[in-house]
């Protein structure tokens, strides 16, 4: 039987579903829940402050975000949430995909 020869070197990893987060910095109170409990630990506080004087979160490693939305579930102020991406756009399987076009 014919087997395709593997190219030399490590096999390229299959493309994973990545994620991204949306941060409403104006609502954030800097509690740190999202940062503490992000499973891949890809969130960190910004250096800047919001108008209320709180640091708010940002992705320290955007490639590492899985879009699990645990940050979104923890946030007491609805200031952050995550979505899954497929090929760089919110995944159709992610129930929040429709929100991309949602009007506030």
């Amino acid at each position: 039987m014919n087997q395709e020869k593997q190219p030399a070197g490590p096999a390229p990893k299959p493309k994973k579903v990545r994620g991204k987060v949306y941060v409403n910095a104006l609502r954030c109170k800097g509690c740190g829940f999202c940062i503490a409990f992000c499973p891949p630990r890809v969130l960190e506080f910004t250096a800047e402050f919001n108008p209320q004087g709180y640091h708010f979160p940002q992705l320290s490693n955007p490639d590492g975000c899985t879009g699990c939305d645990l940050c979104g579930l923890y946030c007491p102020d609805f200031a952050i949430y995550g979505v899954m991406l497929k090929n760089g756009a919110p995944s159709a399987k992610d129930p929040k995909a429709a929100s991309e076009e949602a009007q506030p």
Binding site: C75, P76, F78, E101
Partner: protein, 294 residues
Amino acid sequence: MSATVELVPPNPVEAILRTERMPSIWCPGCGIGTTVNCFARALLQAKLDPKKVVVVSGIGCSGRVAGYVDLDSFHTTHGRAIPFATGLKLANPELTTIVYSGDGDLVGIGGNHFIHAARRNVDLKVFCVNNFTYGMTGGQVAPTTPLRALSTTTPYGCFEQPFNLPQIAEAAGAVYVARWTSYHVRQLAHAMGEALRKKGFAFIEILSPCPTLYLRRNRLGDGVAMMQYFKEASVVRHGAPTREVGIDFQGPLAVGKFVDIERPGFLELVNQQLGRTLDAEYAGCGGEGDYVRG
């Protein structure tokens, strides 16, 4: 690139929140908002008609939940959310009636109403946020404050044994009793969903940090530190005997679903009993929802 400038598509849970009233009054590190987040998810997932969902709360930080959800909401008097909700539910049984309040409100001043509604098995979903203190008024001792803990009214340490809420709920007759913490967000959202579907008096105790008062006074760190304690000290014990799940100061925490039984609900018993006695004369209660409203 500044995140403050980028327009953010709304979080889907905002569909049932009054975002125009945010930021909320809750302190940074307070867990109440997290519980509301779980509640919002559970509500959206349950696909209930939001028009027919009502939130009734009492007085206290947790009582403010009623003001932030975009549903028919009632911010009632201290300790009396449950009887208000009872009257509401009996007059219109179509309404999914949720009581959302704090430990002091529900089992301190409200203790009597709590046990009677559980006894009657009134169809209420009672979400009790337990932060071990009376937060709104500045951090006084509560019926749930652990022995030896400091508070403004026990400056030398609490000298009372606290209530074991799941035990009282079960003893009073609740048909669904669970405890989670604001760390256990997925389990909490799931439990709230179960409670929404459960017929009868469903009770969930949710442990939550009060960083400004309980934590600070007892030198327990910030909200994240308390959440870490919840994470490390919790042991999931579904079905554990509720007499074993009391909480000592910074001690082990039994979490999980302790009780999930079936028992006739209050209106069911009303209809059964009156129907049996009055037979054809009985006009019926609660079936079509319009009986008491006329």
